[in-house]
């Protein structure tokens, strides 16, 4: 069961981060954001911070899964989990790139 977790956690964290940032963007662009007296620039800043945080989290997961304490004893599970942690890192960097690259609420 632990090996199943090692294999499934990194991408699940990607999914959570991805959905959270999408939700956050929805919030920033909704009337609630303006009503709370916040600017769009602040929204962009928060989104960028969320992106950076997600990337940092994935990097940490990758390192943790390599560390002797948490790495799987089975060679197969170790290589699959590390591959997937790498994939999750790339996926986080790539799929959330739009927070820096596109218009916010157009």
């Amino acid at each position: 069961m632990k090996d199943i977790l090692r294999i499934s956690v990194p991408l699940t964290v990607w999914l959570a981060a991805f959905s959270a940032v999408y939700g956050l963007e929805g919030l920033v662009c909704s009337h609630r954001w303006a009503e709370a007296g916040l600017s769009l620039a602040a929204g962009r800043g928060i989104l960028l911070a969320a992106w950076a945080l997600a990337v940092a989290l994935q990097t940490m997961l990758l390192l943790v899964l390599r560390s002797p304490r948490f790495a799987s004893p089975s060679g197969f599970a170790r290589s699959v989990s590390l591959t997937l942690a790498g994939v999750a890192l790339v996926a986080t960097a790539w799929t959330l790139l739009p927070v820096a690259a596109t218009s916010l609420c157009l």
Binding site: F18, G26, L27, S30, S74, S79, T83, V87, T95, A101
Partner: protein, 826 residues
């Protein structure tokens, strides 16, 4: 004991009832797998006939073949049948038939659940077919967008058939997935560690977990839309605080994973068959596992690409465009691993291989059009045109139907024990693959020329006539090909000559048993040391028949199999399976009362049927377990293992765990819907928010704490050999408190005033339902303890109940918390 006597003894123990009665009482996975496959093919034929009607209508401009009303029903039912009644059940059938055999075990984890799921599928599917025959079939497209499917635009019963029928059928998908997940994780031959699993098992595992997390959003959406239609709870009506886009989110949150739920099993089949056809082993096993998991998870982050034209801000679109292009990478990894496998081996062009090549060509094209429509500006041009229709048929037919035909021809000798003699299949291959491409290349083209999907007719002079005619001709050629396949299979199953046990010289375990397979699969269970046991030891089948593996001694006279520790493959405990019973079909029938009651607005029937289901469940579960500890059992080869009922984590605990995963996804989707409406629905805030007061919060805090503490006290007492009564009492009182807290929500809001209060009702109802459920479970546990089933080492049931209590406490605190939150903040 010699092989023949062992065979006779095991058959006596495992066989289904003889004669027609056996159909209704069987719990055997081989039988049920075949029944699933047969029914799925039956629905495929109906869906195919509808497809022919569509192509007949579109063949010429201004066609008077059918009018718009009928046409709407035809294309809606075509899509619905193919997705829900054909593709998913076909995967379930394949997995039900195959998994225990390739994993080297004797049945799936919960045999009666397999049967229950099957009958729910049959009854739910029949409901939809009845509507089709009566001319009142659903007609708002297979994705049922409101407001088109709302009561105002669709006042008839048509949409209700869809919402209720499909939800009924989805029970079977959820049952099958719980089953598959637990089976793959725990029911394998000794020694089969994770990396030694046949690759299809990985795909089935990923697919099953995807069903558990992908179907609940749609189930929730269907419940909400049905509540709106039946009782006027306005979740999707903008003027009352709802939002029709919420449906699109919920639908595609299911819908996109769904397309991968369909594709992944097919990829699993290809990964099983291709190496055998190429006379080699699979290249890059670990990479393929990684790719399958990646696809499974990534596909949950793509749903908005079906909503590119709904006015979502560009940044939102860009997230999903980026994620959509990314999925091409793991798909590519698999394709390259397959090409490498062919490269490394010496491929032989037998019929299954021909279908795999057809799959490659077709699926790659479909994947490429997929990347095209993943690019937002391109999609804005082609959305809702026939280009999309062509894309989805390339990936679904190329990526699912073709591999399934490969599977059909590959495993047919296994199921029938016969050698293919009549060679209609080759002719059918050419008819289908040429016919398909003629049809759908043309459909791409006419889509680019601007033909919208779901139009019942079109005018001359737009340059569409010839293309549509060509597409229709191709369609009929394809249909003739499929008819030929069915004839071919029927002939070969009925009259061909007997074949050898392992006709393809494959290395996986399903070929280590006699064919057609006996009811017990393996006379004794093998010890696994590699991924292709038959290549290591060609004599394995003989040793197994001689009873030299595990559990080869049938003298205990009951249906026994082994489970493993998840990762290492070390044997863990012995499971005793239930015997033949009509309870599953009965329970599916009574479950149908809930849906029929809603459909016909006979609301009194709904609680009555629910009570009936509860009664049957009690009867069902009561028959498990035993009143005394048996201690460790001899399982052969010098190994002794405890019984599952004396283990801390019996199969039921694992089943509950994955059922709760699906349940938690449903609840999560509900909270998502609430948050979505709160942020973007135009007519918010509602006239007033619910104030928590003091009683509700006190009840829920006290209730959840009490029930959680109570069950722990009971378990502690059981461990020390004492009576669990006080703990169980506290725990039931706690459940009542939790239920009352949820009740305050219902009492203090009106369900149809605003989407906000309707949502509060659903949250309250959800928590109330769970409080009632665990209340019932605790009562049941009390009776079990009183009857002597829960004592000594047999305390697994208490742990199962604890799992449900903890879950209920979590959803109660979270659900009621967010329900009260806006009231606290304003």
């Amino acid at each position: 004991m010699n092989a023949l006597r062992r065979h006779r003894a095991l058959t006596r123990i495992w066989a289904s009832d003889p004669g027609w009665k056996g159909w209704f009482t069987t719990v055997n996975h081989t039988d049920l797998g075949r029944m699933f496959l047969f029914v799925a093919v039956f629905f495929f034929v109906i869906g195919g006939i509808l497809a022919m009607l569509i192509r007949a209508q579109l063949a010429t401009p201004r066609s008077a073949f059918v009018g718009p009303d009928i046409y709407n029903q035809i294309f809606t039912m075509h899509g619905t049948i193919m997705m829900f009644l054909f593709a998913i059940p076909l995967f379930e059938g394949l997995a039900v038939y195959l998994l225990p055999k390739i994993l080297g075990t004797r049945d799936l984890a919960f045999p009666r659940l397999t049967a229950y799921g099957f009958w729910c599928y049959v009854f739910g599917g029949s409901l939809l077919i009845v509507s089709l025959l009566a001319g009142i079939a659903p007609d708002s497209g297979w994705f049922m967008y409101p407001p088109l499917s709302s009561r105002i635009a669709s006042p008839g019963i048509n949409t209700d058939f869809w919402l209720l029928g499909i939800t009924f059928v989805e029970i079977s998908a959820i049952c099958a997935s719980v089953e598959i997940t637990v089976t793959v994780l725990r029911y394998r031959a000794p020694g089969m560690s994770l990396p030694r699993m046949p690759i299809f098992a990985w795909y089935a595992l990923v697919t099953a977990v995807m069903i558990l997390t992908g179907f609940p959003p749609l189930i929730l959406g269907s419940i909400l839309l049905e509540l709106e239609r039946a009782f006027g709870m306005p979740f999707f009506q903008v003027e009352h605080g709802g939002d029709s886009l919420l449906w699109q989110h919920l639908f595609w949150l299911f819908g996109h994973p769904e397309v991968y739920i369909i594709f992944l099993p097919a990829a699993g089949v290809v990964s099983m068959i291709l190496p055998v056809m190429a006379r080699t082993t699979l290249l890059g096993y670990g990479w393929i596992v990684a790719a399958a998991v990646t696809l499974g998870v990534l596909s949950f982050g793509l749903w908005v690409h079906h909503m590119f034209t709904t006015g979502i801000p560009h940044m939102g679109l860009a997230f999903f465009s980026a994620a959509s292009t990314l999925v091409a990478v793991p798909t590519g990894v698999q394709i390259f691993a397959w090409i490498g496998t062919i490269w490394k081996g010496s491929p032989q062009l037998k019929l299954p291989m021909m279908w795999i090549l057809a799959f490659f060509a077709t699926f790659v094209i479909g994947g490429l059009t997929g990347v095209m429509v993943a690019v937002v500006p391109f999609d804005w041009q082609v959305h809702d045109t026939h280009f999309i229709v062509a894309h989805l048929h390339y990936v679904l037919v190329g990526g699912f139907v073709f591999p399934m035909l490969a599977a059909l021809y590959y495993w047919m000798p296994h199921a029938t024990g016969r050698k293919r003699f009549f060679k209609l299949g080759e002719t059918a291959f050419w008819l289908i693959s040429i016919g398909f491409h003629v049809t759908f290349l043309a459909v791409h083209w006419v889509g680019l020329l601007g033909q919208r999907r779901r139009i019942h007719t079109y005018d001359e002079g737009q340059g569409w006539e010839v293309i549509n005619l060509v597409a229709s001709v191709g369609g009929f050629v394809t249909a003739v090909g499929f008819a030929l396949v069915i004839v071919d299979v029927a002939l070969n199953a009925a009259v061909a000559i007997r074949g050898s046990r392992d006709p393809w010289q494959a290395g996986t375990l399903e070929w280590a048993m006699p064919t057609p397979p006996p009811a017990y699969n393996f006379a004794s269970l093998p010890l696994i040391e590699s991924r292709n046991p038959l290549y290591d030891d060609p004599d394995l089948p003989v040793c197994l028949v001689r009873g030299e593996g595990y559990l080869g001694d049938p003298s205990r006279g009951r249906r026994e199999t082994l489970t493993l520790e998840v990762a290492s493959g070390k044997p863990a405990y012995v499971v005793i399976f239930p015997t033949n019973t009509a309870l599953p079909i009965l329970m599916a029938f009574v479950t149908g009362g809930i849906f029929v009651g809603m459909l016909l607005k006979l609301y009194w029937l709904v609680p009555l049927a629910a009570l009936g289901v509860a009664a049957i469940v009690v009867r069902w579960v009561w028959s498990l377990g035993s009143k005394r500890d048996e201690g460790p059992l001899e399982v052969g080869r010098g190994l002794t293992l405890p019984l599952a009922s004396e283990a801390a984590d019996p199969p039921g605990w694992w089943g509950s765990l994955f059922l709760l995963l699906a349940n938690a996804t449903l609840f999560g989707s509900l909270l998502f819907g609430y948050a979505f409406l709160w942020t973007v629905a135009p007519n918010w805030p509602p006239p007033n928010y619910l104030e928590p007061g003091l009683v509700g919060p006190a009840l829920v805090l006290g209730g959840t704490a009490l029930s959680m503490a109570g069950i722990r006290l009971a378990r502690w007492k059981l461990r020390c050999g004492g009576g669990p009564w006080l703990g169980l009492l506290l725990s039931v009182v706690g459940a009542v408190g939790t239920g009352m807290a949820a009740g305050t929500l219902l009492l203090r809001t009106s369900f149809d005033a605003h989407a906000y209060s309707a949502t509060i009702w659903v949250i309250g109802g959800y928590v109330l339902f769970h409080a009632g459920l665990v209340g019932g479970m605790i009562t049941f546990l009390t009776l079990r303890a009183a009857a002597g089933y829960v004592a000594g080492r047999r305390v697994g049931e208490a742990r199962i109940v604890q799992l449900w209590i903890d879950y209920t406490a979590a959803v109660a605190l979270l659900g009621l918390g967010v329900a009260w939150l806006p009231g606290v903040l304003t």
